[in-house]
């Protein structure tokens, strides 16, 4: 049976994981490889690296991070943030990323979704949709939530699925950072609109919130509640499992 997925999301700045605080088990709490290994061992099903570097050297730095992690950790790796072209996608995939997450670029050049899917395969194209509920509509935002577009989330989701997107990563801007639960309504609306996998993001404060989301969609992206050690991947999976959600538990020891 297909499992629901738990996906830790790591913010990377200048080649170091930031916001990862309380990792007592690690020698170096900012090292992407150490943190990736820690999450892999605790049962993470995939990892997302979000590049929040502002400098012009971002590209090479991120490639180095991905390449170092991909040599040590053998679960799917997704990279998002600052991807501007097919060439950027190609170099990330060569460095070891399995998927890339596109947001602003996808909205500004939807044709690129199709080109990327044709060239690299749908399986590696994740479209990140930042949504905000206002004026009785779910609007799509770009530029890290700074710019409101006129796109409605459901229409946009259908469009990107038709263009060849492999998965959707849906972040509710209303809920993000509040730790009061996911926006379940938009997850319902999108689940009815498209058949591709949906990853819920934004709002998880505890394992029960994850259960609520995974009863509707395929995967949950987790950041602060893991990094702050409010809970662990294992704990979240056990709670999900108690609610009869199919989860993957790691039984083969890592070397």
């Amino acid at each position: 049976m297909l499992k629901r997925r738990i996906i830790p999301c790591l913010d990377v700045k200048d080649g170091r994981v930031v916001k990862g605080i309380e990792f007592v088990a690690l020698r170096d709490i900012g090292d992407p490889v150490e943190i990736a290994k820690y999450y892999d061992a605790s049962g993470a099903d995939e990892l997302v690296f979000l590049d929040i570097t502002a400098s012009t050297e971002r590209r090479q730095t991120m490639l180095d991070v991905v390449s170092a992690v991909a040599r040590k950790v053998f679960i799917p790796l997704t990279v998002g943030g600052g991807i501007r072209s097919l060439e950027d996608i190609s170099s990330l995939l060569k460095a070891g990323a399995d998927k890339v997450s596109l947001n602003t670029l996808a909205v500004e050049s939807p044709d690129l979704i199709k080109q990327a899917a044709d060239r690299f395969g749908s399986q590696c194209i994740v479209i990140a949709i930042d949504v905000k509920f206002e004026d009785d509509e779910y609007f799509v935002y770009t530029y890290g939530g700074k710019h409101r577009t006129e796109l409605r989330a459901v229409d946009w989701a259908k469009q990107v699925a038709a263009l060849g997107a492999g998965e959707l990563l849906v972040t509710s801007m209303n809920q993000d950072g509040r730790q009061s639960g996911y926006d379940l309504r938009i997850l319902d609306l999108l689940r009815d609109a498209v058949d591709i996998p949906i990853i819920a993001s934004g709002g998880a404060g505890n394992a029960n919130h994850v259960v609520d989301a995974l009863e509707k969609v395929d995967a949950a992206l987790l950041a602060s509640i893991l990094h702050d050690r409010k809970t662990t991947v294992e704990e979240v999976k056990h709670v999900c499992s108690e609610h009869n959600l199919p989860m993957r538990f790691v039984t083969t020891p890592t070397d």
Binding site: A70, R71, I75, L93, D98, S122, T251, T252
Partner: protein
């Protein structure tokens, strides 16, 4: 042990290379017949669509060599690379495959495709799948299957020296690596006792 990973422009071969290196293989990504002849084992990767993959493979001129090698040394196909081992596919334009194992490739019936994510095989261990087509073959060739929305998905197939994995062992954590290790050990036995 030397593994030739066939380079024909279909998909990401670098993570297969990294995983094989992690379990101690010497890996060359290549389309050079000399290197392929000299390898202990051959790995055919692949992501994308069947007809384009066969076309790309055809353009390398390697098909006769690959067919012959599959009779002589261990040959592993991963994901689309596994599907190419079979006789034909209905994906897009119906296309002939390598025909190393009897059977065909058909679109899955499940409503929600692709089949993406971790699914269990063998002793309830999970591996990472991404595909919309599956193989239809004699059960005697199928070593492990997964269940997706009530549909049976052949996950590991084997006939003679030819093995196929529908999932991505290189992305299936420690268990995926252990499957690659098992294959490596079988190849090493073949090297010492087979010839």
């Amino acid at each position: 042990m030397k593994v030739a990973v066939i380079d024909y422009g279909m998909g990401n071969v670098f993570n297969v290379e990294r995983a094989l290196q992690a379990i101690g293989c010497y890996v060359t990504i290549t389309n050079d017949p000399v290197v392929i002849e000299a390898a202990d084992a051959i790995l055919l990767p692949g992501v994308g669509a069947f007809p384009q993959a066969m076309q790309s493979l055809n353009e390398t001129g390697l098909i006769p060599l690959l067919k012959r090698s599959a009779q002589e040394k261990p040959f592993l196909g991963i994901c689309l690379g596994m599907q190419l081992l079979f006789e034909s596919s209905t994906e897009g334009i119906p296309t002939e495959g390598l025909g190393l194992i009897e059977g065909r490739v058909e679109r899955m019936r499940a409503k929600r495709l692709p089949h993406v994510g971790w699914n269990s095989i063998l002793r309830d261990e999970d591996v990472y799948f991404v595909h919309s087509y599956h193989v239809v073959t004699d059960p005697v060739n199928v070593i492990a299957s997964a269940d997706y929305m009530g549909e049976d998905v052949p996950a590991i197939v084997q006939k003679g020296l030819v093995t196929g994995m529908q999932f991505h062992p290189e992305k299936s954590g420690a268990f995926g690596l252990s499957l690659l290790k098992e294959w490596k050990e079988a190849v090493e036995r073949e090297i010492t006792t087979g010839h």
